[in-house]
Symmetry: C2
Subunit: 120 residues, 2 copies
Protein backbone atom coordinates (compact mmCIF):
# COMPACT_ATOMS: atom_id res chain seq x y z
CA UNK A 1 0.00 0.00 0.00
CA UNK A 2 1.68 3.21 -1.12
CA UNK A 3 -1.18 5.67 -0.70
CA UNK A 4 -4.21 6.29 1.47
CA UNK A 5 -7.17 3.92 1.34
CA UNK A 6 -10.38 5.86 0.72
CA UNK A 7 -13.37 4.02 2.17
CA UNK A 8 -15.98 5.50 -0.18
CA UNK A 9 -13.88 4.70 -3.24
CA UNK A 10 -13.44 1.12 -2.08
CA UNK A 11 -17.10 0.70 -1.15
CA UNK A 12 -18.07 1.76 -4.68
CA UNK A 13 -16.27 -1.30 -6.04
CA UNK A 14 -18.73 -3.92 -4.80
CA UNK A 15 -22.42 -4.31 -4.06
CA UNK A 16 -22.91 -7.70 -2.45
CA UNK A 17 -23.90 -8.02 1.18
CA UNK A 18 -22.14 -10.00 3.94
CA UNK A 19 -18.96 -10.39 1.90
CA UNK A 20 -16.05 -8.53 3.55
CA UNK A 21 -13.29 -7.17 1.31
CA UNK A 22 -9.78 -6.57 2.62
CA UNK A 23 -8.45 -3.03 2.15
CA UNK A 24 -5.40 -2.97 4.43
CA UNK A 25 -3.14 -5.17 6.52
CA UNK A 26 -1.49 -4.22 9.83
CA UNK A 27 0.87 -6.89 11.15
CA UNK A 28 -1.29 -10.03 11.07
CA UNK A 29 -4.62 -8.18 11.10
CA UNK A 30 -6.90 -7.25 8.23
CA UNK A 31 -9.10 -4.19 7.81
CA UNK A 32 -12.15 -5.19 5.77
CA UNK A 33 -15.06 -3.22 4.32
CA UNK A 34 -18.47 -4.85 4.24
CA UNK A 35 -22.06 -4.01 3.31
CA UNK A 36 -24.73 -5.43 5.58
CA UNK A 37 -28.43 -5.73 4.89
CA UNK A 38 -30.91 -8.07 6.52
CA UNK A 39 -30.15 -10.72 9.08
CA UNK A 40 -26.94 -12.69 9.47
CA UNK A 41 -26.53 -16.00 11.32
CA UNK A 42 -25.76 -16.54 14.99
CA UNK A 43 -22.07 -17.39 15.32
CA UNK A 44 -18.98 -16.79 17.35
CA UNK A 45 -15.24 -16.62 16.78
CA UNK A 46 -13.68 -18.98 19.32
CA UNK A 47 -10.15 -17.61 18.94
CA UNK A 48 -10.48 -13.87 18.55
CA UNK A 49 -12.30 -10.65 19.33
CA UNK A 50 -13.92 -8.96 16.33
CA UNK A 51 -14.23 -5.20 15.75
CA UNK A 52 -17.15 -3.49 14.00
CA UNK A 53 -16.89 0.18 13.00
CA UNK A 54 -19.93 1.67 11.25
CA UNK A 55 -19.22 4.11 8.42
CA UNK A 56 -22.72 4.69 7.03
CA UNK A 57 -26.19 3.55 8.03
CA UNK A 58 -27.25 1.72 11.16
CA UNK A 59 -26.83 -1.83 12.39
CA UNK A 60 -27.61 -3.91 15.43
CA UNK A 61 -25.39 -6.60 16.87
CA UNK A 62 -27.68 -9.03 18.64
CA UNK A 63 -26.11 -10.80 21.61
CA UNK A 64 -27.65 -13.62 23.62
CA UNK A 65 -28.09 -11.23 26.54
CA UNK A 66 -28.86 -7.96 24.77
CA UNK A 67 -28.01 -5.93 21.70
CA UNK A 68 -25.70 -3.14 20.62
CA UNK A 69 -26.94 -0.49 18.20
CA UNK A 70 -24.32 1.18 16.02
CA UNK A 71 -24.48 4.23 13.75
CA UNK A 72 -21.85 6.17 11.81
CA UNK A 73 -18.74 6.90 13.87
CA UNK A 74 -19.45 4.16 16.37
CA UNK A 75 -17.63 0.92 17.11
CA UNK A 76 -18.03 -2.22 19.15
CA UNK A 77 -15.69 -5.11 19.88
CA UNK A 78 -17.40 -8.49 20.14
CA UNK A 79 -15.32 -10.50 22.61
CA UNK A 80 -13.80 -13.84 21.65
CA UNK A 81 -16.29 -16.67 21.89
CA UNK A 82 -19.35 -14.46 22.36
CA UNK A 83 -22.29 -15.41 20.16
CA UNK A 84 -23.58 -12.58 17.99
CA UNK A 85 -25.87 -11.95 15.03
CA UNK A 86 -25.44 -8.78 12.98
CA UNK A 87 -28.60 -7.19 11.57
CA UNK A 88 -29.31 -4.15 9.42
CA UNK A 89 -32.80 -3.13 8.35
CA UNK A 90 -31.38 -0.90 5.61
CA UNK A 91 -28.00 -1.19 3.95
CA UNK A 92 -25.16 -0.40 6.34
CA UNK A 93 -21.48 0.08 5.47
CA UNK A 94 -18.96 -1.01 8.06
CA UNK A 95 -15.32 -1.80 8.66
CA UNK A 96 -14.24 -5.00 10.36
CA UNK A 97 -10.87 -5.39 12.05
CA UNK A 98 -9.74 -8.90 12.91
CA UNK A 99 -6.84 -11.30 12.49
CA UNK A 100 -6.00 -12.57 9.01
CA UNK A 101 -7.98 -15.72 8.26
CA UNK A 102 -11.12 -15.09 10.31
CA UNK A 103 -14.17 -16.53 8.55
CA UNK A 104 -17.25 -14.29 8.60
CA UNK A 105 -19.60 -17.00 9.86
CA UNK A 106 -17.19 -18.17 12.55
CA UNK A 107 -18.17 -21.51 14.05
CA UNK A 108 -21.52 -21.58 12.22
CA UNK A 109 -20.51 -21.98 8.57
CA UNK A 110 -23.36 -22.24 6.07
CA UNK A 111 -24.34 -20.49 2.88
CA UNK A 112 -23.46 -16.99 4.08
CA UNK A 113 -19.80 -17.98 4.49
CA UNK A 114 -17.80 -15.55 2.32
CA UNK A 115 -14.50 -16.19 0.53
CA UNK A 116 -11.48 -15.27 2.65
CA UNK A 117 -8.78 -12.70 1.90
CA UNK A 118 -10.48 -11.00 -1.04
CA UNK A 119 -8.68 -7.68 -1.54
CA UNK A 120 -10.18 -4.72 -3.33
CA UNK B 1 -17.22 -2.45 27.06
CA UNK B 2 -20.95 -3.16 27.13
CA UNK B 3 -22.15 -0.60 24.61
CA UNK B 4 -21.01 1.13 21.44
CA UNK B 5 -18.13 3.59 21.52
CA UNK B 6 -19.17 6.89 19.93
CA UNK B 7 -16.14 8.68 18.51
CA UNK B 8 -17.60 12.21 18.71
CA UNK B 9 -18.63 11.70 22.34
CA UNK B 10 -15.16 10.45 23.23
CA UNK B 11 -13.40 13.23 21.29
CA UNK B 12 -15.37 15.81 23.28
CA UNK B 13 -13.70 14.57 26.47
CA UNK B 14 -10.23 15.92 25.74
CA UNK B 15 -8.56 18.81 23.95
CA UNK B 16 -4.82 18.21 24.02
CA UNK B 17 -2.89 17.37 20.89
CA UNK B 18 -0.62 14.38 20.23
CA UNK B 19 -1.93 12.48 23.24
CA UNK B 20 -3.77 9.31 22.16
CA UNK B 21 -6.60 8.03 24.38
CA UNK B 22 -7.64 4.38 24.35
CA UNK B 23 -11.32 3.75 23.60
CA UNK B 24 -11.38 0.01 22.89
CA UNK B 25 -9.30 -3.15 23.04
CA UNK B 26 -9.38 -6.05 20.56
CA UNK B 27 -7.20 -8.98 21.61
CA UNK B 28 -3.84 -7.31 22.34
CA UNK B 29 -4.51 -4.23 20.21
CA UNK B 30 -5.75 -0.80 21.23
CA UNK B 31 -7.99 1.60 19.34
CA UNK B 32 -7.01 5.15 20.29
CA UNK B 33 -8.46 8.56 19.45
CA UNK B 34 -6.10 11.47 18.99
CA UNK B 35 -6.16 15.13 18.01
CA UNK B 36 -3.29 16.31 15.84
CA UNK B 37 -2.24 19.87 15.17
CA UNK B 38 1.14 21.10 14.01
CA UNK B 39 4.21 19.02 13.45
CA UNK B 40 5.18 15.83 15.24
CA UNK B 41 8.69 14.32 15.43
CA UNK B 42 10.32 11.91 13.01
CA UNK B 43 10.15 8.43 14.52
CA UNK B 44 9.50 4.81 13.76
CA UNK B 45 8.07 1.79 15.55
CA UNK B 46 10.67 -0.97 15.18
CA UNK B 47 8.32 -3.80 16.19
CA UNK B 48 4.96 -2.99 14.64
CA UNK B 49 2.94 -1.47 11.85
CA UNK B 50 0.78 1.51 12.88
CA UNK B 51 -2.66 2.37 11.49
CA UNK B 52 -3.99 5.91 11.01
CA UNK B 53 -7.70 6.46 10.23
CA UNK B 54 -8.80 10.09 9.81
CA UNK B 55 -12.22 10.98 11.23
CA UNK B 56 -12.25 14.75 10.78
CA UNK B 57 -9.89 17.26 9.19
CA UNK B 58 -6.80 16.59 7.13
CA UNK B 59 -3.34 15.34 7.92
CA UNK B 60 -0.14 14.43 6.15
CA UNK B 61 2.15 11.58 7.06
CA UNK B 62 5.60 12.56 5.90
CA UNK B 63 7.82 9.66 4.92
CA UNK B 64 11.51 9.85 4.02
CA UNK B 65 10.62 9.10 0.39
CA UNK B 66 7.28 10.88 0.05
CA UNK B 67 4.09 11.73 1.88
CA UNK B 68 0.57 10.42 2.33
CA UNK B 69 -2.31 12.88 2.61
CA UNK B 70 -5.35 11.72 4.56
CA UNK B 71 -8.84 13.16 4.92
CA UNK B 72 -12.03 11.92 6.59
CA UNK B 73 -12.79 8.31 5.73
CA UNK B 74 -9.23 7.52 4.73
CA UNK B 75 -6.60 5.29 6.30
CA UNK B 76 -2.95 4.41 5.96
CA UNK B 77 -0.79 1.76 7.58
CA UNK B 78 2.78 2.86 8.29
CA UNK B 79 4.89 -0.30 8.01
CA UNK B 80 7.03 -1.47 10.89
CA UNK B 81 10.34 0.35 11.08
CA UNK B 82 9.43 3.04 8.53
CA UNK B 83 10.28 6.56 9.64
CA UNK B 84 7.33 8.93 9.57
CA UNK B 85 6.32 12.38 10.80
CA UNK B 86 2.62 13.24 11.17
CA UNK B 87 1.60 16.81 10.39
CA UNK B 88 -1.69 18.70 10.45
CA UNK B 89 -2.00 22.37 9.54
CA UNK B 90 -5.40 22.57 11.25
CA UNK B 91 -6.73 20.32 13.99
CA UNK B 92 -7.34 16.79 12.77
CA UNK B 93 -9.13 13.99 14.61
CA UNK B 94 -7.91 10.47 13.98
CA UNK B 95 -8.01 6.90 15.22
CA UNK B 96 -4.86 4.89 15.73
CA UNK B 97 -4.83 1.10 15.82
CA UNK B 98 -1.75 -0.60 17.17
CA UNK B 99 -0.61 -3.18 19.70
CA UNK B 100 -1.03 -2.43 23.40
CA UNK B 101 2.04 -0.63 24.71
CA UNK B 102 3.15 1.27 21.60
CA UNK B 103 4.63 4.66 22.51
CA UNK B 104 3.53 7.55 20.29
CA UNK B 105 7.06 8.80 19.65
CA UNK B 106 8.42 5.32 18.94
CA UNK B 107 12.22 5.21 18.91
CA UNK B 108 12.54 9.00 19.15
CA UNK B 109 11.25 9.76 22.64
CA UNK B 110 11.33 13.41 23.71
CA UNK B 111 8.87 15.90 25.10
CA UNK B 112 5.99 14.87 22.86
CA UNK B 113 5.97 11.37 24.35
CA UNK B 114 2.46 10.82 25.73
CA UNK B 115 1.42 8.67 28.71
CA UNK B 116 0.53 5.10 27.70
CA UNK B 117 -2.77 3.30 28.14
CA UNK B 118 -4.90 6.31 29.08
CA UNK B 119 -8.51 5.23 28.62
CA UNK B 120 -11.40 7.62 28.13
Amino acid sequence: MTSAVNFKDKLALFAEHWSPKVVAKMNDYHFKLVKFQGEFVWHNHPDTDETFIVLEGEMTIHLRDGEVKLGPGEMYVVPKGVEHKPFAEHECHAMLVEPVGVVNTGDAGGELTAPLDVWI
